[in-house]
């Protein structure tokens, strides 16, 4: 039997005149890894803050573990782990003090908090840095410490806002590995990201957000199958000629998309599309056939790239 940990209905968040979250419906089951995908400003962080019970709901309804954040905020937060977008580690404390003192905020006894802190240092691969001052850690280490800290209360659900933004590729893979382990232990993961690969790697199911609204929902595979072709042909022409040449690829594949630096041709058979391009006498500087990704889904749904 499934159990919904998050149920949002027509959820709205307004800041004055500005509507950050514009009536979204979301349901997240226990044990799932669920993602909010979208560009900066799509309303992902505002949604996460409402789920984290640190931002009041403007209208609509939100239930976490069946409880209302407006009346049961502290009880809900007791069962959540939160990894904010920007590290809020305590720079006046050492690595292990950051962990056990945070545990005290959850009313853990001092000995229990210290015991868990020790375990989490292992999990975060920071055992040899236990007595370092936080400021001396690398970006990847700080992120791992943030995640370790969010686990001190053994949360049932972990909220991660842009967990790997600003990290180098190796640090990202280490982090993904840790998150994957948590998921295997049964922790429900809810994350926001504007990285396609992250969403594809980590999420069982995701919603694509744009301008405060949900524009699509499904597993990464489903979304790609539903909204994009199997393959994509990427063509680069001599700088500045993309726009002029774009009309000439019209009719090749199912759809064409003109981007500032390249032309995308959506086709189930990318090689055939490339052959068709050459047959028209076009000579792109480079051509690449790849599988469709969530990036393409997003482009199709919103007409914009995620980096916009």
């Amino acid at each position: 039997m499934t159990e919904s940990l998050i149920v949002a209905r027509q959820l709205v968040k307004r800041f004055g005149e500005f509507t950050a979250v514009d009536g979204i419906d979301v349901e997240v089951q226990r044990g799932e890894a669920f993602g909010f995908l979208g560009p900066n400003g799509a309303g992902k962080s505002s949604t996460m803050r409402m789920i984290g019970c640190v931002s009041p709901v403007t209208s609509g309804s939100l239930r976490l573990f069946g409880l209302d954040p407006a009346t049961h905020g502290a009880q809900i937060r007791r069962r959540l782990g939160v990894v904010p977008q920007l590290d809020t580690l305590d720079t006046e404390l050492t690595v292990q003090e950051n962990l056990w003192l945070y545990g005290r905020y959850f009313d853990l006894s001092r000995s229990e908090a210290k015991r868990r802190a020790k375990e989490l240092l292992e999990f975060a691969q920071l055992a040899d840095r236990a007595d370092s001052i936080v400021d001396h850690l690398s970006g990847g280490m700080k992120r791992r410490l943030s995640i370790a800290r969010s686990l001190i209360n053994e949360p049932e659900m972990l909220l991660l806002d842009e967990p790997t933004t600003g990290l180098d590729p190796q640090a990202r893979h280490v982090l993904w590995d840790r998150l994957y382990r948590l998921k295997q232990q049964g922790v429900t993961l809810v994350l926001t990201t504007h990285y396609m690969d992250e969403a594809e790697q980590l999420c069982d199911r995701l919603v694509v957000m744009d301008q405060g609204k949900i524009v699509a929902e499904g597993s990464p595979r489903e979304l790609i199958d539903r909204y994009s072709t199997r393959e994509v042909l990427e063509l680069r022409f001599t700088a500045g000629t993309n726009e002029a040449l774009a009309p000439q690829v019209q009719g090749i594949g199912e759809r064409q998309e003109l981007l500032p630096d390249r032309v995308l041709v959506y086709a189930d058979d990318g090689e055939a599309a490339l052959a068709a391009t050459h047959a028209r006498g076009l000579q792109p500087e480079s051509a690449l056939v790849r599988r469709s990704s969530l990036e393409d889904v997003f482009l199709l749904l919103t007409g914009r790239t995620l980096a916009d």
């Binding site: 931002s55 937060r77 003090e97």
Partner: protein, 264 residues
């Protein structure tokens, strides 16, 4: 329901302010020199009064008796020191934790509430202030400036002064935009320090004496001075009432503003 009845409970909804205090104790274990340095301030103040001004001014009348000038000033300096300590702890340190280190954001993702954070900060300021007040009292006694055993009542009096100014400092800090606004703190506390019947009796202000009464520090100075003299009058209750009222209002504003700032 009246405003007072609604703002009263705010301070009492704190459940775990002690967690914030625990954090500070751990953090300051490595910065004990900062704590120790605070002990020297009163010593320097009192010595300068004895060696310098005291000799020039002679005696002053307190509660009908003539006392040496340094014995007149010492309780006022003790009260001012309680104010300065509380202001120091509740402005710069709080601004740093609120806007730059974002320590409160992290705390609010846990069962901690904004009221817990605000009351914890104020509790810490009080704790630290009491340490300094005790040392101040020790220095006063060593210099022979203590006039009565009642002087021990100066400790709760200083706690009340600390509560009032930590509340005002914290509430004010929630309105600061950045470090530049810290200058206002000095501009605001300096006249309080100088014109709260600290260095001369309120009577010397003549027809302006009522202005002095607007200063919360004036009421604090009156309490500490009464404690040192061991002479209690009904007006003491009025001084306590003023400080309590200002504290409750300031603390309520502080907790509410913190909620507005951090739970957007």
């Amino acid at each position: 329901m009246s405003g007072e009845l609604r703002i009263l409970p705010v301070a009492f909804t704190a459940r775990r302010p002690q967690r914030m205090i625990e954090r500070h104790i751990v953090a300051y274990r490595r910065q004990w020199l900062i704590i120790v340095s605070g002990f020297f301030e009163p010593l320097f103040y009192l010595l300068s009064m004895r060696a310098g001004l005291g000799n020039l001014v002679g005696k002053v009348s307190v509660a009908g008796t003539q006392v040496p000038y340094d014995a007149f000033v010492a309780p006022a300096l003790m009260a001012s020191s309680a104010m300065n300590g509380a202001i120091f702890d509740s402005t710069g340190n709080v601004l740093h934790r609120l806007k730059y280190a974002r320590i409160y954001d992290a705390a609010l993702a846990t069962p901690m509430s904004p009221t817990d954070v605000a009351m914890g900060e104020i509790g810490w300021a009080l704790l630290r202030g009491q340490l300094y007040s005790i040392s101040f009292l020790g220095v006063m006694a060593a210099l022979g400036l203590v006039q009565s055993w009642w002087v021990l009542m100066a400790l709760p009096a200083c706690a009340l002064i600390g509560l009032t100014f930590a509340g005002i400092g914290f509430a004010g800090t929630t309105y600061m935009r950045g470090w530049a606004d810290m200058d206002i703190v000095n501009t605001a506390t300096m006249p309080l320090f100088l014109f709260s019947a600290t260095f001369f009796p309120a009577a010397s202000y003549g027809s302006w004496a009522w202005v002095v009464q607007l200063s919360p520090l004036y009421h604090g100075v009156a309490l500490v001075r009464a404690a040192n003299a061991g002479v209690w009058t009904a007006s003491i209750l009025a001084h306590i009432a003023v400080l309590l009222l200002v504290s409750i209002i300031a603390l309520s504003i502080a907790a509410r503003r913190l909620d507005v700032l951090l739970r957007k």
